[in-house]
């Protein structure tokens, strides 16, 4: 399929208060799918999978350390992911560029450190206990 004149699908503006609308795939993954039709299909699939899993009354294993701690551990994992992603955007080659791209890369690298700090504190609050006997 020729996509030469097709507009690319861009990452959405996520309203944090409506974060649940964006469950499913990471935006860092979806941004690869610039074909708007494919992007929308994957976004909808991710949302559907999450909705079905959340609504269903399943017999899956219970979280041994409780729901809130389990959820926060997932958030910490995603923070570490974003720490790495921002670090990639701010890798030396990008930071050495002149102009706006170089500036943005250096900002991303600095913010990667801030995300790491947030993740470290949350991780520390959770502790190492995962509900094992």
């Amino acid at each position: 399929m020729s996509a030469g004149i097709q507009l690319a699908a861009g990452p959405p503006i996520v309203d944090p208060e409506a974060f649940h609308v964006f469950h499913g795939f990471r935006e860092t993954s979806l941004c690869l799918f610039t074909n708007p039709e494919h992007n929308a299909a994957l976004r909808a699939t991710g949302r559907l999978i999450y909705a079905m899993a959340s609504e269903g009354d399943n017999d899956w294993p219970a979280e041994p350390e409780g729901h809130p701690r389990h959820q926060l551990r997932a958030a910490v994992a995603d923070l570490h992911f974003l720490q790495g992603f921002l670090g990639m955007l701010g890798r030396p080659l990008e930071c050495s560029r002149e102009g706006h791209e170089g500036h943005l890369a250096r900002v991303a690298l600095r913010l990667s450190g801030q995300v790491a700090e947030i993740a470290a504190v949350l991780d520390g609050e959770l502790g190492a206990w995962r509900g094992e006997e």
Partner: protein, 143 residues
């Protein structure tokens, strides 16, 4: 229609859940695909591994195939930064949700403490996303 073969039943409520991984930021690319906040719902290890594998497969195939898709409006680099901002906003909202759980759910003392810490970091995460968004500028200005 032929009958389906018997299959191993999935884990039950008393079985160990799928663990949430410890992500090494240097290897973040191994964790593209679904968000951990989404995968956390799938405590059944088989379902969790299947979705994790699917996400990885789709991402890997997309890396090979994306040359056939529309070019990013303001280039790949800015496009990736915008995606990071979107994911930061998602996590900001997610932490704010955990912060509200003290009022909306019955939590243990320690869970309440962790919930408070989540709320404390919402402004910090917002500041990170704001800083990146400010540096990025409006769409189109980066071209």
């Amino acid at each position: 229609m032929p009958s389906l073969p018997d299959r191993t039943p999935p884990s039950g409520p008393d079985d160990p859940p799928a663990p949430i991984p410890t992500i090494d930021p240097d290897r973040f690319e191994d964790f593209e695909g679904f968000r951990e906040t989404t995968l956390a719902v799938f405590t059944e290890p088989g379902a969790n591994a299947t979705l994790r594998g699917l996400g990885d497969l789709l991402y890997t195939m997309a890396l090979e195939y994306c040359q056939h898709w529309p070019v990013e409006l303001d280039g790949a680099f800015y496009h990736q930064v915008r995606a990071a901002v979107a994911d930061l906003r998602h996590l900001e909202g997610y932490l704010a949700h955990l912060d509200t759980q003290r009022e909306e759910a019955s939590l243990s003392d320690h869970e309440e403490r962790v919930s408070e810490v989540c709320g404390k970091f919402v402004p910090d995460l917002r500041a990170v996303a704001d800083a990146l968004e400010t540096a990025l500028g409006p769409m189109g200005a980066t071209r």
